[in-house]
Amino acid sequence: MNSGALLCLGIFATLASSFWGLLLLPQLQIGRQDPVKLEATDALYPANRPGQARQGAEVYRALGCVECHSQQVRPKGLGSDFERGWGERRTVAQDYLYDQPVLLGSLRLGPDLANIGARQTNATWHLLHLYQPKSTSPGSMMPPYPFLFEKRKLRRGEARSPDALALNDASSAEEIVPRPEAEALSAYLLSLHSDVPLFEAPVPVTRTNAAGATATNAPATTTNSPPPPK
């Protein structure tokens, strides 16, 4: 192998193979998906995030939350995501259509967040947790984010603002008010749920359900049930 030209050809071909097979081909298959219409509710899935939640996604990205938190639920039988109650079903490509960027995460130093909006629906909890994680989850190793909040001095007799965090020092002369970034991040976390059953990810039926499975177990929600041409 002394020919530079032949070497270059081989080098090109080897990377081209995965560039084609792992990037271009899947792009044709799953890279041009559109939201699907759910038969049960006639709504589109996934729904576009409201404005504040979209700003929260930017805060999530900028703070690097993806370094400790994942946003994917693995299938039943692979890991214990289900047993931990992190989702009703595994996550699939359809769930991430409107995410920009898609932050699946690769390390779980904190719990998975794919369905945190379904697990923890209280905005105040999220704000308290961001300000001081140990206040809502004793022993938590998550770093606090005090810079997302503002400590304001209360003048004599001034009442607390409605969004001030209710922390133990209720009688102190300071109040802690979330900044817009904190509110946005909280809204984003509340918007995170992917538990609608889809055709490619039916909610796994447990033994107790199977006996009485009728229309109550959400019906197939895509309209293309005959095998599609490949």
């Binding site: 192998m1 002394n2 530079g4 070497l7 270059c8 081989g10 080098i11 080897t14 990377l15 193979s17 995965s18 560039f19 097979g21 792992l22 990037l23 899947p26 792009q27 298959q29 799953i30 890279g31 998906q33 990205r61 900028a62 703070l63 690097g64 939350c65 993806v66 370094e67 400790c68 994942s70 994917q72 693995r74 692979l78 890991g79 214990s80 047993e83 595994r90 996550t91 490509a93 359809q94 991430y96 259509l97 409107y98 920009q100 960027p101 898609v102 699946l104 690769s106 390390l107 779980r108 130093l109 904190g110 022993g139 190793m141 998550m142 770093p143 606090p144 984010y145 005090p146 810079f147």
Partner: protein
């Protein structure tokens, strides 16, 4: 197969007139400024990256540490550290090593110095802009591609200059037959711009829709290590092992077989890190299939190196560079086997999302690449500057401490990761409790990084002393110039 070459061999067939090989000292002299710039910058970024990684590791077991500002939050410091290590240290050291190896193996000096120096400066500017951008909150969010869109084009432009010079130098080589290292180096130089530009385009500039972003990101991270940095390290190992033992490499056909199997299978294995992820079944399956096949290139490389070393006998086994290169080679084999193992679905069920992936990355970055590049530094820098390393003691301490530190880091993270992964993925043990239980291992990780940082500071001191000796003639001239000028002014003889 090329006949054993000697510097006086007549030029072989080739389009360009080969001519007599350039003397080694001239080659080294031509490379002096570009490669020194790349190496010194690399070492500085290594120190900075290690400091950032150290801060991040402290936050793992002391989350309140330095959390007053968004600039120092864990989610920004950690990617900043990894980017500093990958692009600031490993890539620059790799570029310097690649240039030097290509020139030496081609028996020709580098084609041009000024563009390389400009490119080196811009590369550093780009990395600095990128790191600051990440700390400021402009991170793109994609693993190892966090540098914002105003920094990555600088890197790409700087790389293009260097790559171009490398290709021109390669084309002008006097020794036409190719050696094994040149295959790896050419491959790396060709693959990097492709993966870097494709990933940036598909993720940052014209983002793909939905989960395809995760696919591109996984493809990129796998190829950054496996097709850009690893081949340069392999090229260096394939160069130094035969050279320092003064034996020919055991088998060229074996090396070719290993090269092509590595080239073909590595780039398909990227998606094993997404097994169980939101992708149709065939994507991770394709990667897992390629993952199993990776045992072949690893066996080839290992066999070649082992048989070459064995044939060398006990001679020259004490050479510091050879020691480092052998350590680096061992870490490469360990990393390769670890990657194959953790790519299997049954194993990744436990190790996914745990510290084991972090351990794997540090084994590659510090164990394989850093140790190999240190070996290159110790060999190349004296030849560039014609100055011996001032302190052999500092050098040996550097090597010993680095090796121990890397062992501590990798072993601590692996054990922590296996335990954490088992508890996380095979049980419903309380999440917070199990994260807290990894704290002691996190502490060991921090200690390992501290030791590594200390070792690098020793190396930095040695390097500084060497450069001071190197710069001594200039200093003397400058002093002489100024004292002479003063004396003239005072009307006295200097």
């Amino acid at each position: 197969m090329s006949a054993p070459s000697s510097p006086t061999v007549a030029p072989g067939a080739g389009a360009s007139p080969a001519g007599r090989p350039v003397p080694v000292a001239e080659i080294d002299a031509s490379l002096r400024w570009p490669v020194l710039l790349l190496f010194v910058s690399a070492v500085l970024w290594l120190v900075l990256g290690t400091i950032l990684a150290l801060i991040a590791s402290i936050k793992l077991h002391g989350p309140g540490f330095l959390n007053g500002s968004a600039w120092l939050t864990y989610g920004r410091i950690n990617p900043a550290a990894m980017n500093a290590l990958l692009y600031g240290f490993a890539s620059q050291a790799g570029l310097g090593v690649a240039l030097w190896l290509l020139c030496r193996l081609g028996r020709v000096g580098v084609c041009c110095q000024a563009p390389l120096i400009i490119a080196g400066v811009f590369w550093n500017l780009g990395v600095a802009a990128g790191i600051l951008g990440i700390l400021a909150g402009d991170s793109t969010g994609f693993q190892w591609l966090e540098m914002p869109r105003y920094a990555s084009p600088i890197l790409f432009a700087a790389y293009s200059l260097i790559g171009l010079c490398a290709i021109v130098t390669f084309h002008a080589r006097r020794e036409r037959p190719l050696y094994v290292s040149q295959w790896y180096l050419l491959a790396a130089l060709f693959w990097f711009p492709w993966i870097y530009s494709a990933a940036n385009y598909l993720l940052v500039f014209r983002p793909a829709r939905g989960v395809m972003q995760a696919v591109v990101n996984a493809w990129f991270t796998n190829n950054l290590l496996g097709l850009w940095l690893a081949p340069i390290g392999l090229g260096a190992i394939f160069y130094f092992i035969p050279k320092l033992t003064d034996r020919p490499l055991h088998s060229r056909p074996l090396a070719a077989f290993g090269f092509w199997t590595l080239a073909f299978f590595t780039n398909w294995t990227g998606l094993t890190q997404l097994s169980g992820g939101p992708l149709p079944a065939w994507l991770p399956a394709a990667s897992q299939a390629a993952n199993g096949l990776m045992i072949v290139p690893i066996l080839c490389a290992g066999m070649n190196w082992l048989l070459t070393l064995q044939s060398g006998g006990a001679q020259n086994q004490e050479h510091l560079t050879l020691r480092l290169v052998r350590l680096g080679a061992t870490c490469y084999l360990a990393w390769g086997l670890m990657s194959i193992f953790t790519g299997l679905r049954a194993v990744s069920e436990v190790t996914h999302f745990s510290y084991v992936t972090v351990a794997q990355n540090y084994l590659a970055l510090l164990g394989f690449l850093a140790l190999t590049f240190f070996g290159c530094f110790y060999y190349i820098v004296p030849r560039l500057t014609q100055v011996a390393w001032p302190s052999e003691k500092l050098a040996r301490w550097h090597v010993t401490c680095s090796t121990v530190a890397i062992a501590v880091i990798v072993i601590a993270l692996t054990i922590a990761g296996l335990w954490q992964g088992a508890k996380l993925n095979k049980s419903t043990a309380d999440f917070i409790a199990l994260t807290r239980a990894t704290l002691p291992w996190g502490g060991l990780f921090t200690l390992g990084l501290l030791l590594f940082l200390a070792a690098q500071l020793l190396f930095l001191r040695n390097l500084f002393l060497l450069l001071r000796v190197y710069g001594e003639p200039c200093r003397q001239t400058a002093i002489g110039f100024f004292t002479g000028a003063e004396a003239l002014e005072a009307g006295r003889q200097p």
